[in-house]
Amino acid sequence: MTARLKKKLGEMGIDPSSSKANESFCLIGTPLPPLEKSKDTGEFVPLWKQDVRDEKGRRRLHGAFTGGFSAGYFNTVGSKEGWTPQTFVSSRSDRAKQKAARPEDFMDEEDLAELKDSQKLVDTTEEMDLIGGTQSEMRKRGEPERDSIVSALEDSLLPAPKDSVGARILKKMGWRIGNGIGPKVTWEQRKRQDALSSSAPSADDEVPESHDEEAAKHMYPPRDSKVPSFSRKDNPHGLGYVPGMGLTDLVAGKSKDGGNTTGPNLSAGFGLGALNDAEEDDLDVYDSGFNKSSTRLAFDDADEEERIVMGSRNKQSPTKKIQKPGVQPSFQTFQDGRAVLPGFVLSDRPVVEDKWYPLPEVPKGWSPDPRRVWEKDKENIVTSGQPPAVPPITSDHASWKRGITADQRGSILGETPLPAAPKSVFDYLAPKDRERLQSMASGQPLETPVLPPAPTLSMARVEPQIAKAALNGFQPFTADPVKQTRYTAYLQSQVDMEDVPIKPTVGQSMDEFHKELSDYAKAAQIFKPVSGTMAGRFTSAAIVEQVGNAQEGLHKPKPAVKQQLDEQPAKEEKQESAKEHAARLGMFGPLTREIKPWQPAKLLCKRFGVKDPNPELLLAEASTSQSTPTAAAIAWKPEDALANADLATAAGSSKAGGGVAPSSRTGGRRDLSNVGLGDDETQGADTLTYERPAKDIFKAIFASDDEESDDEAEKQDKKMSASPAPVSKEPEKPVAFPPQSVTAAHSIPSTSYGPQNGERSAVGVDLSSFKPTFVPRADREKRPKSDGKERSGKKEKKRKSGKTALVSFDVEEDGGEAVQPKKKKQKQHHGEDDDGLWVEKPPPEIVKKLDPNVHLPTEQVMETDVDEKLAGPQRGRKRAVDFM
């Protein structure tokens, strides 16, 4: 800052030392980039800050720990929803626009780039573009896609030119299309070459003949070597044989020393070296061309054809057409639609040419008269005099081709056969053995190998039982009545184990007949009805498919066909015909009416609001017939089904053990060892047939004592009244009534009640002989009542306990002083464990006293009479066990 400036600033009142005065507005040099931006990419970033991005800066990894790769969410689809199926858009209207899908259509930019890279490696060597307008070039230039027709046209007009690497190198080395390879030769040499290749200088040769001396001054590229062309061999001549060329021609051609047509032709053939002399050493062994017109050049420099040409310019050649790309469309397809490989063309001639010879002209007025020919033959035979030693060689081509064997020829010539080595094993055998063998063989019918038709018939055999089943089963040939009858006849014969009765039809060869028989056998195997258990579950369809052309209107079966289809017994058929007769006569009414019972399904009745007409029919039907599936479905009973299945299996697989098992199983006891096993036939049966026990049983078990009511008592009365002893109506009475004599007679074995009156409480319960008994509640009710007032206090107690445990036992209330404490404890423990389980009952003294009395009537009645009410407690006992 200069002094002047300072002074000026001072005048302006600005402190020159302030920052404002020192502010500079000039920038010198390039400023450093700001620190935030200058973060270089190599800078260390802690791992948790790093994230993976692709070349476009998209995050590639997502997820909880940044390592999660949620493909399909962010990366592939780019939407949260993922792929959503597009709505269907019909492309029917724009089929023409549609092209065959290329793999590129399904690639994304990365794949395309990859593809491009790989193509660079492979394709650049393969493709060379002379005019720079191939499709691939177009595509690379990003030209918009053209439609198929345009591209097809373009392809056909301008096929993609290709050149091999070798050709390119050669071109760079100065080689021109149409010239041979090698150093340039002089005119003389070239002429010699021409002579060798026996090709006259072509008309379009650029060097005129007249300027020989001028021509001699220059060097010429050598002649191109010819591409050998192999013509298809479609004649029966030998290899290398030229039709019409005799031996002399061949020799003459050799003597002419090349220069003519035969020489090179021969050398082009096979077996060249050995036969041909060294004079043609310098002859191109592959050179088969003779003149310019037939030379085939790998590269032809014809000016109008710049592209590679394979094949000759011969006008007759079928390959001519590909030389003109305009003529031949580039897309050729075989007849089956497959595309022809690139580089190949379809021949317009078929591979095998059918040669048609014109029929000889029949002279007018000629009529066939074979007798004349026979006469002629007869004459021949007669004129020949002696019978020919050899049968006249037939004109049959096959026999001619086979020729005659040496033995035959020898026999014709009358030679004595040479002593040949023995050919058969029999020749080595001693004559005795041979005889024995022969006798053995003659003992057996060995005609089968001799008779040709016998084994052929035996091949289409069907097992009799299968045939029998197939006869009853589906008839597969109903559409063709003739075939059907033949089929049934065949099956019948198989059932009876007879020979096949049917003969080949007229015009049917033996092979066809055998095929027919084997078809029948197969059909029988297939269409035999299902056997065994499955048999009852299927019914054959009532519908029969009628093969044949469809007719307008409703189908009306012809009566003949109907008769054939109906496999009803003759009687029914007769009835049917009577019905038909009545209908035809118009006598409708009882004659044409049939009334059958019919069982509507239960549900159907319900839906129609109709009462089931005969509900008992259900059971009857179910038990009698299982044939109708509906009836079976209505009243399907597992036991029946199982029994049926058992029967079916037993019948079907007539095994020895099969029949025994079901009966033993059904009759067998149920115990823990076999309950619930898979082979338990009766499992679940009791669940299904379970009937609810009488209500009082439940009451007896589950009801609390409070609920004991008058009706209970009344029931008790009734029970008692069933017993032989007269009973009063009061509830106390039956308790008081002790028929001791009956008790003695009964002597219940389960309880060891020795002394009826004894003070058992002191003795306690004998553990070894103790058996639990179940006391019906009704009995228990009586017991305290019998004791009267002295028990009333305990009764209260009992009621309380009855509330706590559903199954109450007397032990708990009054066994305090009677039963040993140890035992009681044990019982209580059990009671806590499972109330329902516990049916053990110790006999305390009172109970003992009462029990026989109480048990007596029930037991008695059980034996004498089946009273429902009395059966109640009994069943209750059973159920208690069942609950276990």
Binding site: H555, P557, A583, P600, R607, T630
Partner: protein, 314 residues
């Protein structure tokens, strides 16, 4: 309509033509109740709902994959069922135009489908010679019962209050009496193409392919009357009763609509009737309530609504 007033003439004046079907129309049914609408089904796989009064199409029910051979309308007009070549019964919801149920199970095309009176059961008779009874209350896929007594295709059936009647190509009219638990089969000798019992269920009108329409007594199976002179030998031409069941109406294969007196079986005038359809008349149905209205469906892809010349003259 009391029969004492005499037979009301058949409505012969063309009211309108319903022409939207693309192929033969195979069935045309009136709706239930006041029967203000007509449902038709045809070869073009659609069921169409029409207003015959003005002749406009209201709705197209497309869903069948094959021809529609039969339609039945529920008592409350809420749903209808149709069947055809695609071997399952379609139960449609009229309002939404969608199938509420499809009941597959038949082995052949279903020629006929009928609701029972409260549309809890639908019966279908098929080319597979069975009649299947489907429960519409439950969601079960199995039929309640299959009636497989017919020996040939079941062409027609009628579900009454307590009976089901089927007509089959085997020439039988079978009456399954639910109350009696009895099947009565009456043999007619010719394929039965249409049956229609009278309202009292005492007689049944059965058309057979021998160009006859018979009125059978259901209790005895005897024919009460035989109506002929039309031609019906190969197509299903449905016969129905005219107004008040006093006459019998049947279309024939020449496109004529024939009418007979029920009692004396004489053709009503004009005799012969004019040809009103180019092709076979597949279905005639008289209006259930209105005396002077009738529809005919024909294979010439048209449905015609006929009205009496003087509808209220009677």
């Amino acid at each position: 309509m009391a029969p004492s007033r005499g037979i009301s003439p058949l409505p012969r004046a063309l009211h309108c033509t319903l022409t939207n079907h693309k192929g033969p129309v195979l069935v045309a049914r009136y709706a239930k109740g006041s029967a203000k609408y007509v449902l038709t089904g045809g070869q073009d796989r659609t069921v169409r709902l029409w207003n015959p009064d003005v002749g406009t199409e209201i709705k197209v029910f497309a869903g069948h994959g094959y021809e529609v051979l039969s339609i039945t309308v529920a008592h409350d007009n809420v749903k209808f069922a149709s069947s055809g070549g695609d071997r399952s019964v379609f139960v449609w919801d009229v309002a939404t135009g969608t199938t509420s149920r499809r009941l597959p199970g038949h082995m052949g095309k279903i020629h006929v489908v009928e609701f029972n009176e409260d549309a809890t059961v639908v019966a279908s008779g098929s080319y597979d010679s069975t009649v299947r009874l489907w429960d519409l209350r439950a969601q079960s896929r199995q039929p309640i019962q299959t009636l497989d007594e017919a020996r040939d295709a079941v062409q027609t059936l009628f579900v009454g209050g307590t009976y089901i009647m089927t007509g089959s190509v085997d020439g039988h009219v079978r009456t399954y009496d639910l109350r009696k638990g009895e099947l009565r089969a009456d043999f007619l000798g010719h394929p039965v193409t249409s049956i229609l019992p009278t309202k009292d269920s005492q007689t049944v009108l059965a058309a057979t392919l021998d160009s006859r329409v018979r009125l059978l007594d259901l209790t005895s199976g005897k024919p009460l009357n035989e109506f002929q002179s039309h031609s019906n030998t190969s197509y299903r031409c449905r016969a129905c009763f005219g107004a008040a069941e006093a006459s019998v109406v049947c279309g024939d294969e020449n496109g004529q609509v024939w009418a007979w007196d029920l009692v004396d079986a004489t053709p009503l005038s004009p005799n012969p009737p004019p040809i009103v359809h180019q092709k076979v008349i597949t279905w005639v149905e008289h209006h259930p309530n209105d005396v002077g209205e009738m529809i005919t469906a024909s294979a010439d892809s048209s449905v015609k609504v006929w009205r009496g010349t003087s509808p209220i003259a009677v």
